[in-house]
Symmetry: D2
Subunit: 399 residues, 4 copies
Amino acid sequence: MTQVSESDVLGVGLVGTSFMGRVHTQAWTLAPRAFDLALTPRVVAVAGQNPERTAAFAARHDIARASSDWRDLLDDPHVDVIDICVPGDLHAGIAEAALAAGKHVLCEKPLSNSLAEAESMVAAARSAREHGIQSMVGYSYRFVPALAHARELVRTGRLGKIRHVRAQYLQDWIVAEDFPLVWRLDRERAGSGALGDLGAHIVDAATFVTGHRLIGVSALTETFVTERPLPAESGALAATAGTGRGPVTVDDAAVFIGRTDGGALATFEATRFASGRKNAMRLEVNGSLGSISFDFENPNELWFHDHTVDESEAGFRRIHVTEPSHPFAGAWWPAGHGLGYDHAFVHEVVEFTRAIADRRTPDPSFEDGLAVQRVLDAVERSAAGQARWVPLDPRESDL
Amino acid sequence: MTQVSESDVLGVGLVGTSFMGRVHTQAWTLAPRAFDLALTPRVVAVAGQNPERTAAFAARHDIARASSDWRDLLDDPHVDVIDICVPGDLHAGIAEAALAAGKHVLCEKPLSNSLAEAESMVAAARSAREHGIQSMVGYSYRFVPALAHARELVRTGRLGKIRHVRAQYLQDWIVAEDFPLVWRLDRERAGSGALGDLGAHIVDAATFVTGHRLIGVSALTETFVTERPLPAESGALAATAGTGRGPVTVDDAAVFIGRTDGGALATFEATRFASGRKNAMRLEVNGSLGSISFDFENPNELWFHDHTVDESEAGFRRIHVTEPSHPFAGAWWPAGHGLGYDHAFVHEVVEFTRAIADRRTPDPSFEDGLAVQRVLDAVERSAAGQARWVPLDPRESDL
Amino acid sequence: MTQVSESDVLGVGLVGTSFMGRVHTQAWTLAPRAFDLALTPRVVAVAGQNPERTAAFAARHDIARASSDWRDLLDDPHVDVIDICVPGDLHAGIAEAALAAGKHVLCEKPLSNSLAEAESMVAAARSAREHGIQSMVGYSYRFVPALAHARELVRTGRLGKIRHVRAQYLQDWIVAEDFPLVWRLDRERAGSGALGDLGAHIVDAATFVTGHRLIGVSALTETFVTERPLPAESGALAATAGTGRGPVTVDDAAVFIGRTDGGALATFEATRFASGRKNAMRLEVNGSLGSISFDFENPNELWFHDHTVDESEAGFRRIHVTEPSHPFAGAWWPAGHGLGYDHAFVHEVVEFTRAIADRRTPDPSFEDGLAVQRVLDAVERSAAGQARWVPLDPRESDL
Amino acid sequence: MTQVSESDVLGVGLVGTSFMGRVHTQAWTLAPRAFDLALTPRVVAVAGQNPERTAAFAARHDIARASSDWRDLLDDPHVDVIDICVPGDLHAGIAEAALAAGKHVLCEKPLSNSLAEAESMVAAARSAREHGIQSMVGYSYRFVPALAHARELVRTGRLGKIRHVRAQYLQDWIVAEDFPLVWRLDRERAGSGALGDLGAHIVDAATFVTGHRLIGVSALTETFVTERPLPAESGALAATAGTGRGPVTVDDAAVFIGRTDGGALATFEATRFASGRKNAMRLEVNGSLGSISFDFENPNELWFHDHTVDESEAGFRRIHVTEPSHPFAGAWWPAGHGLGYDHAFVHEVVEFTRAIADRRTPDPSFEDGLAVQRVLDAVERSAAGQARWVPLDPRESDL
């Protein structure tokens, strides 16, 4: 038998052990097994608030070192990348310290809880970039093969002039009025509610797929249930009610309309009150030559209408985006053997690992994260002003 | 053999021989065959601009009398009902004259091309009503069994508190830039574009299903193709290009968001530029206890999610709205044998015939038509003011 | 005003006033309104068992004469066509007498309750044909635009070599064990159960779409509920239970596999025990260059996969078969405004009316009906012999 | 920082480095991360035909030892489990040797290429079981949450008496006539074609979900393309053509009908010639109280019709099988965040690991594999005898 040796390792230090921390860990584990990578990422350390929980997480995921202080990871010479999987109020602090310490940074979305923080993070990212230190924001839906393929169809002109962008992100996990006041319902921790959690994804995905940027928005937000029981123990999504009640300080839903720099009309809706919709992240784009339509509840399907086909044979076709020629799909299973939610994260860390190896800026960058942040900020200002029009300058994010 | 005699006839005078005229004629023909009616409607006269075409229409549809002047129908003692199937600029004139002449009036939607006309029509309808003369506006989607059933589900509390109304009406028949300048693209004739043609339907349907009314809107409209070839001969939807070009004076698309008097957020989108969507009149309503979803491209299906079902068995269910217990469906075929676009019009004239026989106001009334008109007007004002918030007082239409 | 006159009338004498009688009457009424026809069909007489019910039917449908004896219609000089809408045990007797009396015959499917009767009917049809008297069997699904379009795609080579035919007709109206013993469950009246009622349709549709004929079958049938309450009053589908019980003498379900003369494998399933499937008449055909798929629960959709498209853009596309270029669709409404169950019958009588005017054999002919009958007979023989292989000679029906 | 230690390891020796070898390796890697397990599986050795390829596989998947002879794994004291992921002609030899060597065995499906081999394997498994050595066959679809949930619905009586089982497994990867002669088209290696590859899955899944077993079948098989180019290099699914041609010695498609010991009619279809169907593993079951329907092209959805619901609200509902209460789903992500093809294999090895830890027979056992084999054998005998009825005794597999 041959002893197997290991290629160059990219050490990852994970911050956060909840839902996102787990998804990322799995992604780092699978990435080098499914894709050819010049660097082999490996999660070598993890930091979490609760020492027992963090130790258990490390044991389960075969992570060598566990700590209750994320600063320990910055001192760890085996850590090359800091992967931030904690609520938004901590993003800026950790990301900027990590970049200053010469660590590459992958930061969960939304980039931050405020526009000011996002601008500061971009400034830090730009400084670090000059020293070969990369940064990326985790808009994972860019890495769903169906959406990456949609972008290709747009990019190669198959949709023609884009007229409509129609995006929705519909969930229902807080429809029950006695669902407890978890951190995602707390403005201090989460920044905003459905807007930052879900709306951020569809704003980014719309830009990613179409290349268009919003030049102004008009928005409404609503908090349908204004007070909820305090949680016995706070988790991300599942939680049990404890004693006492507290105010919900974020939006339950946000709807907005806008115009893009490419002349399209855009509609957006993000909500946690769409009973029966579990994770309906939807995007439809209509162009002069064709349309695409996507719903994450069937994540391996991209619906494409080719408007140049004779009307007698035209119609939305269900492309099962699992062919070797589709983005990312060739690294996995035969056609028709679909991927799940977590595979997109594998593709995301593959992109980050490759960008680091290639010494280039990954996609999406902190600037892309800032561009989303500008929209979220505009939406909140518009909603505060009773849907008043708030213009956006798409060039700002490019500066 | 027995000679067959005839029950009491309700004479109908049809104005207009295009698409809508034909759909209505068929509806009047089938209504007494499929439904038990105290009065038997019969189209006894038709008026159209072009004498040859009108005569041919009459011959084909077994209509006794044809005229090129709608005023002839008002003098016809066999005409009890005037059915207005012509462009919106003619509605008010014909409707008011007919009501004054003591004829019941069924007027195609939208009620009129301006809010002022609609108000005047409602005033005329109210006067006539005092003399037992009825009036109805043709929001035909109310008579699609799936939507009527959706309303029942809402009415009986199956959806709980309504949080979201999400309505779209997507078509694509003018995506080609050389599609000619038919009357529906002319503000003088049509009043507005996608807004009045399609948006009107979804505004009415949303109110019909939910019982909620909008208390304010913020809107954007767009004309993507501003100049088109003049038509060789103008038809409603199909037309061939002639020589010369002219300006498109209506919107190609309208998007708007709003709040309802029941505390819901609402989004609306009406467009003729959604490539691949032929007649996607869609409505989704999310409530605290359940949701419904509808798309006219599959008109016999209502999707219903019962949020009170245990999560392990819950999900949107496809109700094939063709059971004897479903609205209107019992008059037709066995379960599973679906209806088409035209059947809703049969139900519409059944409602009108019954209302006349019962001496009650039909549903939807001219007041319902005016309520839609107020929303369309608010949308246009908002769009003209760069999506500024335009409040609506739902009580106004009840006055 | 102009008096409207009438073109040449084709007098129709209807036999049967139940579900099918009503659908046919409506079809004859709408056909000349929607289509250009050299002859104008008109139902001028109706015969039914129950005099009151028949008179009421005549009154409701504007039919001049009613009788309780179908032989009266044969003597009626205004009757040119006999339209047979009664159970299968009466088909041969009425059809042969009518043809002998020089009347054209439209006979509901299945053509007969036995192969011998069908052969006799074909002989009668051939004799009559020599005198310009036409006959047609009512396989209405041929006239659903989506299936007619599917046939076109096959005929023009878009599917290549056909490998698989997969047909199902699933209903659920007798799942309840106390559903009464209506005539369709009585072998004397109905000939067979799901096999002749539903299986006949998919056998015909498969042949119609593909052009292939079965060269042998292996079959199983089953009667799940062998005894049922006698009906209080027997209707076709809906009925209430009376007193006493009786044996079910037909199959509840039939499944069979076979080979076609074009080298394809075929699977068929017909059942009234598929809970939740209301009228799922489904056909999928897979060929070397493409596939089509159809389900009557969404009757306006044809799914087409073009296997010559690059895999990255390929997939089943939903063609909304409502474009002017689609079969029959141009006579109706704009694209996207779908048709219902009954419209296919309009197309069916249009074909019959045109064939009579053109002095040609309509499609499907009695010979087509016989071809189905041979398959049903083979299926029953196979099932009786524990799925033994029963060969079929497709040329027999052409003799 | 805390050093992380490791719990009890279950050493896995993998045989085979192709598609299945890779899926299994990933499953073993993720299982202890996603699920709580008393034993922690770890792939510690791998054997493959090609030394370079095997070494590369080991390196990529962090496997300590690589060998070109599977017998080496039997001698390896760190190997507790032999996981067989090679073509069927090798199953019996490896499995029996491994069991004799005291290794637990997970064997890919179908269990073997012949009934005799399967019987021999079951005998070996039974002997080994007496010494606490477990064996399992890899019918992975049992571990798709939607199908496991379907079984639960049946088991708890939600479907009532089962009347119909309707199963299809449709692929299209060899539709092109110049697709090369890979090992799966070689009877020596693969045993059979679509039948053993795809048909085996649906036979097992039907039994798993319904609990019914077939008591007889009537079958047809077909090889549409009888000769193909020899492959340049043989892979499982993807391959390029080399020089020369050879005969296809397996079926391209198999269709069969049968009866179950629970009184249901069953239809099965397995094919690699269904253009446009990529991996449509479908199962529908109709019962007196409800139905379920599944299609692996949307693997996270189970369609359930509850026939006890009032007809006005009844219909197939789309259960997104991602709730914490659904089988396996609670170990993964929040509701609506679906799983992919590979997750079922994680669940499969979790079951095996737990069975080993609990010293119980895993599910599905070799006996379950043998039961499928009996059906495949009966299908081949029926097809060889022109669809003659071949009875099956379901009790045989229980002996």
